[in-house]
Amino acid sequence: MKILVLNCGSSSIKYQLFEMNDLSILAKGTMEKIGLKGSFLKIEKPNGDKVVFEGEIIDHQAGIEYILGVISSEKHGCIANLDEINAVGHRVVHGGELFNSSVLITDAVIKAIEQTIELAPLHNPPNLKGIQAVSSVMPKIPQVAVFDTAFHQTMPEHAYMYALPYSLYTKYGVRRYGFHGTSHRFVSKQACEFLGKDYNNQRIITCHLGNGASLAAIQNGESVDTSMGLTPLEGLIMGTRSGDLDLGVLTYIMDKEEIGINSANTLLNKHSGMLGISGVSSDMREISAAVAQGNKRAELAYNMYNYRVKKYIGSYAAAMGGVDIIVFTGGIGENNDFVRAGATEGLAFMGLEMDFDKNKTIKGTEAIISKSNSKVTCVVIPTNEELVIAQDTLIIVNG
């Protein structure tokens, strides 16, 4: 059983081909600059060879054709025939309130995804293009949509409603949706498996800290709150996103700087976060290096980052009436022990005794980083969204 996982962005396609029998990755690559000058496909073969295919890729349709061509080629491929692919799983960013789990793609599903374009005007259209391209090249193959928002659809009203006029919710669907659902779901389950706990009877806080970052509160297997909102801007401080912000500050800046909605969006999404505070970079590794050289602003940015994560942990502990497991994942969560330590320091009152020495030694592997007598268990669990998409696809296709 082979499953192709596609993540179609506005001008890029990332793919992985899984052999589901042993969950091995047969092929993996990234296509960029689709529809633009200088488009290319970059793959890394299992033997470590890197191949770049250059040429004109005019749209997602052509892109997917080339990807399938490469996968099935004698020289750089891994399958003899496209029929060997049993199903395709797509990452779809926004499922609105219409999808609370992964689904087999039908005409009705496509219509529904089209309906949520309003909420994700940048992301859903390329996702749809990918689906349509696969349909036209491999009309018979079953396709599955896995939504970033679906896992969070279990949030109760008190967590997803904003204190705005109710009509804005009924009119435009303004509410908290949350993102990274696939990752929060995967690592929370994986943590329970790793610890031998019953997933349906735990209070878990998952910290997905990557370039984008969010926390989720998961109670008895269901997401009950998460830090990203209607858009991925809310919540934690991120690489270039501000996270939580006084709305009065937003209108104040727009007024003082005389900027419109577009520039305000660019300001808060591209110029802010760790980059904006530190003035160094949006990359935690570069900020760490700056801290080591005594850069005060970089240090401040770090302190703010950790403090924000810590406050959210406290907040979700209160939301669930306590916490049993705290999970760190994502590029920063898996590799940055300084963030993990900063975010969990001083939480003994809620039953967390960290093993800070062990924490320092963990990079990108599954591990417990709290002490054995700690009431709350803190773990590092590497995320793997593509694998979740492949597994969801398999389950749905097998009925």
Binding site: K37, F40, K50, V51, F53, G55, E56, E257, T266, H271
Partner: protein, 316 residues
């Protein structure tokens, strides 16, 4: 030892049939003054290569410096990031030789012609030079709103590919581009142009070929009328601006508008429209004429109706 290999992707197409050429991967611009730069920025922002032609190396350098300043200003206003700027600049290249336009899917003439009488002749000449180097399907367009495209394309071999494209002069952020077709313009050329405008994230407004199209026809009388009111002493400049803004729900008033567009440009527009229509209310106001003669052209020279600092911020 792992290797790094580069190959052409075309060998891996599922169906080996030849792919249609992707539209608008390269766009040419003739003349790299303020409008040329602004249009280049909009186009390059969308990932399209821009090749511009200027008369000499000095002007190429000055144009690129102007584009960079503009990008810095936008970054300062939070509209773009440093990496956007690098990407945009990397796609814009300037030359003096028209041959470099080879391979362009669309070439837009955006020259600033000061010689009123000869401007049509200049543009016709440019159109011919463009046609000599681009493929027959490539679109040739003018950004001039007061020249008539049928006239500019009259001496070309493939007249059907010519359109008039008018980007908003006042705000490059404006979401519209006026597209006028001439007598010869084919449906295909018009549709492709509209597709191109959509790629830029803007809406194409179809207009009939008429000097001034829609927007310039609106600007000129508005600014002229404001000058009349001022000359009559009915109200002060600031108050006319304020009253117009508030009552017509505009972002800026007529004098601010004139300074932003450039008085030389307003002057040329007025003269052209007056010549075309013979209607007095297009005739340029003496207040504008006087300032143009004194080279007080508005924001770009630091003085027009108002006075500006070097960053274009109004001081008086």
């Amino acid at each position: 030892m792992a290797q790094n290999i580069v190959e052409p992707i075309e060998d891996y197409g599922l169906s080996k049939k030849s792919k249609p050429k992707s539209l608008f991967s390269k766009v040419g611009i003739i003349g790299f003054g303020t409008s040329g730069q602004a249009i280049a920025r909009i186009i390059s922002r969308q990932g399209i290569e821009v090749t511009f032609i200027e008369t000499d190396e000095k002007r190429i350098k000055a144009g690129l410096a102007g584009l960079e300043r503009d990008l810095d200003r936008i970054i300062g206003n939070w509209g773009l990031t440093e990496s956007d700027k690098r990407a945009i600049l990397s796609r814009v290249k300037g030359f003096t030789d028209y041959k470099k336009l080879e391979g362009c899917d669309l070439v837009l003439e955006a020259i600033l012609s000061n010689k009123r009488e000869s401007s049509v002749e200049d543009r016709k000449e440019i159109f011919k030079k463009i046609e000599a180097v681009v493929e027959p399907y490539a679109i040739i367009a003018t950004n001039s709103s007061t020249s008539v495209i049928t006239e500019l394309s009259a001496e070309l071999e493939h007249k059907d590919r010519c359109v008039s494209l008018h980007f908003s002069t006042l705000s490059t952020e404006a979401r519209l581009v006026e597209v006028a077709r001439g007598l010869h313009t084919s449906d295909e050329a018009y549709d492709n142009t509209a597709k191109f405008i959509t790629m830029l994230g803007k809406t194409a407004i179809p207009v009939d070929e008429s000097p001034g199209l829609v927007t310039v026809r609106m600007f000129v009388p508005l600014i002229n009328e404001a000058c009349h009111i001022l000359m009559e002493g009915t109200a002060s400049m600031e108050d006319i601006d304020f009253a117009t803004k508030e009552s017509l729900s505009l972002a800026i008033g007529p004098f601010e508008m004139a300074d932003k567009i450039g008085l030389d440009r307003i002057f040329r527009w007025s003269e052209n429209l007056y010549r075309e229509f013979g209607d007095m209310h297009y005739k340029s106001s003496p207040l504008i004429k006087k300032r143009v003669r004194a080279n007080q052209l508005g924001r770009k020279t630091g003085k027009g109706f108002y006075t500006y600092d070097e960053n274009g911020k109004r001081i008086k």
